[in-house]
Symmetry: C2
Subunit: 210 residues, 2 copies
Amino acid sequence: MTAPAKGRLRVNRGSLDVRDRLIEAALAEFAARGYDGASTRTIAAKAEAHQPQINYHFQSKDELWRAAVERLLDEMAATMAEHTEGIDRHDDAAMLAAIIGGLVHFAARRPELNRIMMHEGTTLGPRLTWLVDNHLEWRFADLVYRWDAVTALGVAAPLPSGILYHLLLGAASLLYANAPEARLLGVDPDSPELIEAHAEALVSMLLPGR
Amino acid sequence: MTAPAKGRLRVNRGSLDVRDRLIEAALAEFAARGYDGASTRTIAAKAEAHQPQINYHFQSKDELWRAAVERLLDEMAATMAEHTEGIDRHDDAAMLAAIIGGLVHFAARRPELNRIMMHEGTTLGPRLTWLVDNHLEWRFADLVYRWDAVTALGVAAPLPSGILYHLLLGAASLLYANAPEARLLGVDPDSPELIEAHAEALVSMLLPGR
DNA sequence: GTCTATAATTAGATAGAC
DNA sequence: GTCTATCTAATTATAGAC
């Protein structure tokens, strides 16, 4: 059977390669220029494909965007799993420290996700509501739950839990999301020493009682 | 003499009003949708003007963008001046505390500037280099200078100065820059109590020895 | 699945009457 | 200064040959 599988379960190597390259090119363009600023022609060219192949492999520019975001979210989940590996999931302080460190390291390695979220978070629209409903809400709730726990333990900085999510993500990721700006200012956001110092400082600032 | 003054020194009230409305509409649109996503037609409509008036009062979409950003930067400077009023400019710890608080309050009241900077900071281009060269570089340097001073005094969190700028701006402004996202998550970024708690928490986290 | 050609829409900018 | 009409270029999406 060499016939291509239908839907997303395709096995054919050639088409998988194109889909793959299109997603990779798309997430870079969406991150750099925002949804409106990214053109499907530019994305296709970057993937060494033709523009109509986007509408063949994905229904629309919008679906391509979703596929790109979901790839990034999967990678973030994998990074977070690595960083929390072996930690007692009920040890909220240890889990939070690992989560904070994981967020910094992921933002440094794959700044595209934070870039896309900062682009989309500035205006209410279907992409933002899709993001929140499908991917952000439970992460937010999990973070708040753990924060309330460590606050009760006296380990946390005096920060209302409603503020935590954005303060943490902003502090962890802006340096990498806006890496082009940082470089113009003389900072090297790719330095492993800087990234590690960043992660450690953020943990000690948010969990000073640890 | 009822003839209109030339260049930017115009006195005519009618034209000043249009310029003013166009700038206000433009900064809202650029902040919400990014430079590419904002259309001059939409901006003109929001300002109750016609699209060609943008090219009459400004040379181009690009110049309109600059005018909008400069208005926001002027407002930020005014807010920072209020917050640092009466403080000894050589008292670096007190100045930094006031600057941190001022940044949080300004981001909450006028999130457009941080939104625009987050949009532009994701890719290297003429607008970003203009921002850095003309407005960001000296602010960055001032912040680093003061941070090194309070670090020597043992007042600061253990944070390399190269990280400070983006960590501080991200922690101070993402909640307001991405206010639509925060609202979907059940947070109210307009609450005065939340804003004040945010400012105080950030000061105590960054300057624990104070 | 790929590729060329193109449809349908919208973008920023300009010409010229008033 | 304002406003209508329009130019040129770019956009996403589709049709149809291969």
